[in-house]
């Protein structure tokens, strides 16, 4: 490909691409992000390639391997264009039939359709499926049309149009004004207004400046950044180039987690392609603006999501946060003014430029504009990535999009904001989700993880989980965080083991305040949230552990026992076969019994029993 030197060459290329895509042929798009691959999408791809070749229709039917379609629960899935027929949970053996029946015969294969778990209704078209219907997929939808290895696919969906507009029509100050007017706030957690952040860095007196894309998506349970980087890396790159122009930076870094190998691969390739086409490098589109991006891999430290720690990590040091001010906007990477934004924030930028700040600011609530991507995971039917306008209620997200709780169980809480966030109980299901409302409820937006918990989730165990996470990830610089998270974990661990005593809850609350007040960075300042929010809404559960030595949800091992129900056990021997301790005795067709002295509560028997005959008390 020849480098594009100016706007007219850019427009020519766009026209050429539009023409080549106008005679749209039947296209099969295969969702093939990390989740899809883990569920076998590569086998589906291979089967399609072979079958298309066998039927000699390779030139009539296009096979597009894309990033994640968002509906992770039903991977591997495909969408057949132009009608957008949605087939799910595919196996390689289904492929032959899809080609002969649907592609060639124009018939729908009933068993591959999605069935709504609540209404049992089947859906043929993607847009009708409740999971997709209520979403507003401004950022994620292009994952369906873009092969992340093909820059021209991105160009076909208005890619780099915003950049072209910015470089030819707008001054850096005007760009910042547009972003400010849009109301965009940082999607990484704190929700700082993006336009203002850019302005501060722009106004810094030192000439050499940097921008960073924070792709160190460390919150467990959140993976929207991975999906964007894997599925549509150019959208993030375009946002960064526009930001660099507005701020006056000549170099950008993408700091991406080591745990995301496919994202690293796709972004690395995308940067290379953007260079070849002239969107990165010197004199971009003939504008005299130079900008380049380097990718930097993290090495597995949660605290590096904190901006000053992240900067330290790029400099090759231990990722330990430092005192602010000076803020990175004044003194950041290598001592130079640095602007850091999250992946999703950068991806919003081209959209705002293309559609205008007025359009963008109409979406969402008063204080929180635009859409937000949430990862809806845990004990929920439709797990996946959902993008909704800010202000949608939890009930709509969990029941209408998410299809309700797994196995028809009772909803208990949803955890948002990762280890800095908290658990929101069912009394608050009608809470409209935005930055302010989540903070008021004792949690935070964070990067958008939503872990749904049911009646079988123990809130003391959840608090213990996060405290364990935080005590391991605390960098150790502040005593309050290093020792405080450790001590809080020990107290909650004791409670979960039945060793809790009167006064433990009060001590936890006191410690929580101290850790919050005395720690320097966000990790420590919010480390108490998982404890405080579970105490706020589920205090009785803590008390049951302490006073009655009981775990009402049946999770904490030291407080539970497994029993076999006489009226349900069929004597099938399945549990006996899987028990690693030989703790279960019984004969065929006779009641089985668990020896409590031998049982290690591993749960293998519950999993093996097909008659729900094993209960936890």
């Amino acid at each position: 490909m020849k480098k594009i030197n100016n706007t007219s060459e850019f427009n020519d290329l766009k026209r050429k691409i539009e023409e080549s895509k106008s005679n749209q042929k039947t296209t099969i798009t295969i969702s093939s992000g990390t989740c899809g691959l883990a569920r076998g999408s590569n086998h589906i791809i291979k089967a399609f390639q072979e079958e298309l070749k066998k039927q000699r229709i390779e030139d009539k039917v296009e096979l597009k391997i894309t990033g994640c379609h968002g509906f992770c629960e039903v991977e591997p899935n495909i969408v057949i264009f132009p009608d957008e027929i949605f087939y799910q949970k595919l196996e390689p053996k289904d492929v032959k039939e899809i080609i002969s029946e649907t592609i060639l015969g124009h018939k729908i294969i009933d068993r591959l359709l999605y069935t709504d778990p609540q209404s049992n209704q089947k859906f043929i078209y993607k847009k009708e499926i409740p999971f997709y219907k209520k979403q507003k997929r401004l950022l994620l939808e292009n994952n369906l049309f873009v092969d992340p290895t093909e820059i021209e696919d991105f160009l076909a969906v208005e890619g780099y149009t915003a950049l072209n507009k910015v470089l030819t029509e707008l001054s850096p100050e005007q760009v910042i004004e547009i972003i400010k007017k849009s109301g965009l706030r940082g999607r990484g957690g704190a929700g700082f207004p993006t336009g203002r952040k850019w302005e501060i860095t722009r106004k810094a007196k030192i000439k050499e400046k940097y921008i960073i894309c924070n792709a160190d998506e460390g919150d467990p349970g959140a993976y929207m950044d991975r999906s964007l980087l894997e599925g549509n890396p150019h959208s993030v790159i375009e946002g960064m180039i526009i930001g660099a122009y507005a701020i006056g930076a000549s170099k950008g870094y993408i700091y991406v987690r080591d745990e995301y190998p496919l994202a690293v691969e796709n972004v690395t390739r995308a940067i290379q392609q953007a260079k070849e086409y002239g969107f990165l490098g010197e004199n971009i589109l003939g504008s005299n603006f130079d900008f380049d991006i380097e990718i930097y891999k993290g090495a597995g430290a949660f605290v590096c999501g904190e901006e000053t720690a992240l900067i330290g990590s790029i400099e090759g040091k231990r990722g330990v946060p430092r005192q602010r001010p000076p803020y990175p906007a004044q003194k950041g990477l290598f001592g130079k003014p640095t602007n850091i934004n999250n992946v999703e924030t950068w991806a919003n930028v081209p959209l705002i430029i293309n559609k205008g700040p007025e359009w963008y600011s109409k979406i969402g609530t008063n204080g929180s504009k635009g859409t937000k991507i949430f990862s809806l995971v845990g004990k929920i039917n439709n797990t996946g990535l959902v993008e909704v306008p800010m202000g949608m209620t939890l009930r709509e997200i969990i029941y209408e999009i998410g299809g309700g709780i797994l196995g028809g169980k009772e909803f208990k809480a949803v955890q948002t904001g990762g280890p800095s966030g908290g658990c929101i109980p069912k009394e608050l299901l009608d809470l409209p989700i935005d930055f302010e409302s989540l903070t008021e409820a004792g949690s935070i937006m964070g990067s958008g993880g939503m872990i749904v918990m049911d009646e079988n989730t123990c809130m003391v165990d959840v608090a213990k989980y996060f405290l364990n996470f935080l005590r391991e990830e605390s960098c150790g610089k502040c005593l309050s965080c290093r020792e405080g998270t450790q001590r809080m974990w020990e107290i909650v661990r004791d409670i979960s083991e039945g060793k809790g005593k009167e006064g433990d809850i009060e001590l936890l609350e006191e410690l929580a305040e101290a850790v919050k007040d005395a720690s320097m960075c966000g990790l420590g300042q919010t480390a108490a949230n998982p404890v405080l929010s579970t105490l706020r809404y589920f205090r009785d559960e803590y008390e049951a552990h302490i006073k009655e030595k009981k775990c009402p949800a049946g999770v904490c091992k030291d407080l539970i026992q497994y029993f076999i129900l006489e009226d349900k056990c069929t004597g099938c021997l399945a549990c006996i076969k899987v028990c690693p301790q030989e703790a279960i005795s019984g004969e065929l067709k006779k009641l089985h019994i668990i020896d409590q002295n031998k049982c290690i509560k591993c749960g293998a028997c519950v999993e093996a029993c097909r008659f729900d005959a094993i209960i936890i008390k």
């Binding site: 990390t34 989740c35 691959l37 883990a38 569920r39 992770c72 991977e75 460390g218 919150d219 467990p220 349970g221 959140a222 993976y223 991975r226 987690r257 080591d258 745990e259 995301y260 190998p261 930097y296 891999k297 993290g298 090495a299 597995g300 430290a301 949660f302 990590s313 790029i314 400099e315 090759g316 040091k317 231990r318 990722g319 330990v320 290598f334 990862s375 995971v377 845990g378 004990k379 797990t383 996946g384 955890q415 990762g418 993880g449 872990i451 918990m453 989730t457 959840v462 989980y465 996060f466 996470f469 990830e473 960098c475 899987v578 690693p580 591993c602 749960g603 293998a604 999993e607 093996a608």
Partner: protein, 157 residues
Amino acid sequence: MDISTNKVNSILEKYGIQKKALISILQEIQAEYNYLPQEALIRVSEALNIPLIDIFGVATFYKAFSLKPRGRHTITVCLGTACHVRGGPKIVEEFERNLGIKVGETTKDNEFSLETVNCLGCCAIGPVVVVDGEYHAKTTIGKVKTILKKYQKRKGE
């Protein structure tokens, strides 16, 4: 294991022998040897003029680095929140029982190392187990033995 000075040197040169590239250099060394051998760290310390103790500081700070040799296969069990609420800890225990080792250890025959990770970002299909880069979705206690069998040495191998 033999540590080739040439190999370490060529990794250093690839990054222009720059201090700021320390983490990337360590990542490449680990990709080569599956852990960070002491000899390699000494060489890096000399070349970059960074005290060995600081390199040790970086190598122990980041979870991705291992100072101990790992087994032929690395099993990583995800313990992100979504995997946790779906039973991730039970999967770890089942691996520990089957392999006779604890998390962070390697089997005596050097075949398997067992590790956990805080989140792999495949939260929808948890509990997730990754063996040598290959993902296993919706793992159950019952599936653990099947996964192990896939990687266990076949007789005569």
